[in-house]
């Protein structure tokens, strides 16, 4: 085993890993190392050739590859070491990483580890769609890589299940590449993706969206031949009389993303059942002191801009962490699905990111310490597809009271 040592090691070289590593160096890390499986940096960004990245962060709308380029330049400037085509096998509480690449097996001793492993796409088997098992069924991200990186069109007559942003963007991409996009099927009464993507990806090209619909059957021997779609009732029950068969050769699945935390589980890090990511404190430190989490392995973000804010924060505190004390729990109250961070161990202005349970208008967010209201904010509308950010001032008094915090909505 080849031994190394580094101040800050970052697992994953996607947008979160890059932002975290750059921030760690800017905030005084003596040296930093990024470990990534791929032969390139930027993770998913090079295949996201559409624009809209960095608008909130820089004021400029960049494409994915341009956004990646901005950060890889910063990585070079900060003299951050990058190991591509390197697989992390495990890490432990002593902050040692075991990784393997063509040069051999490595043990890396660190002062802190930042987790930035990203997420995976849900597949047909996560939602259990009945029917045959033909070829021609892809997750939207895989189809995106085929088209944008490898110049392969996955099919000609395409149905898309799920209206997440990747699904909407792929609907437009396929249309522009000459495929026939027959429709986007969404089980909810509204699109899961951003409003701007519904406009510029579907409306611009007259691609129909079937809201309150799902796929009930897949047919095909060898290649996909058709899908059957049907409307769902109020309790998500399928309404058999609305069934219709759509002839197609390709089905793309845009069903949502699952944070990737196999390594975190292996190390014994506490995970949040709702977010699927590690439980973290206000500095994004996990249940293992010195291990931080950011990006889509912490929680699935709406935009790279919001993701980068969190990743930079993790990178900064990875340089100066101290062993943690217990602190307060942050609970999700009425109509709040989850809150990150889940723990508060020190005073100061704390950025909470959260999601709501359902779409609502004119709501007020409350943060309570014990029963006392410590924060209040009104919003005109909220929906589960849009992450909400609030900045709450935490005082020493609240920390010392040892009373848990609760975030809730009075709609």
């Amino acid at each position: 085993m080849i031994e190394h040592s580094v101040d800050v090691a970052v697992i994953g070289g996607g947008p979160a890993g890059l932002a975290a590593a750059v921030s760690a160096r800017e905030n005084g890390a003596k040296d930093a190392l990024i470990l990534d499986r791929n032969s390139w940096l930027g993770g998913i960004l090079p295949q996201c050739i559409h624009d809209g990245f960095g608008v909130e962060e820089t004021g400029i709308s960049m494409t994915g590859p341009e956004y990646a380029n901005m950060y890889t330049n910063a990585v070079k400037k900060q003299a951050i070491d990058v190991w591509n085509e390197t697989m992390v096998l495990e890490f432990n509480k002593k902050l040692e990483i075991t990784a393997v690449n063509k040069k051999g097996l490595h043990k890396i001793k660190t002062k802190s580890i930042i987790l930035a492993m990203g997420c995976r796409e849900k597949t047909r088997w996560n939602v259990l769609i009945p029917g045959d098992r033909p070829s021609g069924i892809f997750t939207a991200g895989v189809a995106q890589a085929f088209i944008n990186l490898y110049n392969i069109l996955p099919g000609k007559n395409v149905v898309i299940l799920g209206s997440g942003d990747v699904g909407l963007i792929m609907a437009r991409r396929l249309k522009l590449e000459g495929a026939n996009v027959l429709g986007v099927v969404e089980i909810l009464p509204y699109a899961s993706g951003l409003p701007r993507n519904v406009v510029q990806c579907l409306d611009d090209y007259d691609i129909p969206m079937f809201l309150n619909h799902t796929i009930t059957c897949i047919k095909g021997r060898g290649r996909l031949e058709s899908v059957t779609i049907a409307q769902v009732g109020k309790n998500m029950n399928i309404l058999p009389e609305t069934k219709q068969e759509i002839k197609c050769d390709t089905l793309l699945l845009s069903l949502g993303l699952i944070p990737e935390n196999e390594l975190s589980k292996g190390a014994g890090i506490e995970l949040d059942n709702i977010t699927g990511g590690p439980v973290v404190d206000q500095d994004y430190m996990t249940s293992i002191s010195g291990v931080f989490a950011c990006g889509n392995c912490l929680q699935v973000y709406d935009t790279v801009d919001a993701l980068a804010v969190g990743a930079k924060h993790a990178g900064k505190y990875a340089v100066t962490w101290k062993s943690k004390n217990d602190g307060l729990k942050v609970k999700s109250g009425k109509d709040v699905r989850y809150v990150v961070p889940q723990k508060i161990t020190k005073k100061g202005t704390t950025r909470f990111t959260l999601r709501v349970e359902k779409s609502m208008q004119n709501v007020t967010f409350y943060v309570k310490s014990g029963g006392d209201e410590i924060f209040k904010k009104k919003l005109r509308w909220v929906n589960p597809a849009n992450m909400v950010e609030i900045n709450v001032d935490i005082s020493d008094k609240m920390i010392n009271s040892k009373k848990d915090l609760e975030v809730s909505i009075d709609g």
């Binding site: 050739i49 608008v55 494409t63 590859p65 380029n69 990186l149 110049n151 522009l176 701007r196 709406d302």
Partner: protein
Amino acid sequence: MVEKEITCIVCPIGCKIFVRMDGTNIKKIDGYKCKRGIGYARSEVLDPRRVLTSSVLVSNGEWPLVSVKTSKPIPKNKIFDVLKIIRNTKVKAPVKIGQVIIKNVAETKIDIIATKSVK
């Protein structure tokens, strides 16, 4: 007098903007949360445009494609003309990010530029 409802695409918020028009004269714009919304709404009712992104074939490169974009938003009704030109274009590696791949594409006075480097 007609009122058009527009969903702003400038940022992830997606404001609903209402534009009241008398023929081609804009009488009132509201519903936006920032100035960029006004500009977008005005353009959307008078001369709708989009930034078009696509990819161009690369020969002898580390990747078979280089991602590209229009240097400015192009008129919506030119999108498929521009795509046809992009599809018939091939460049030789290396390509540098920001490099002009097609000048004045489809007589729009707008260029197609590379959004990544390919060795």
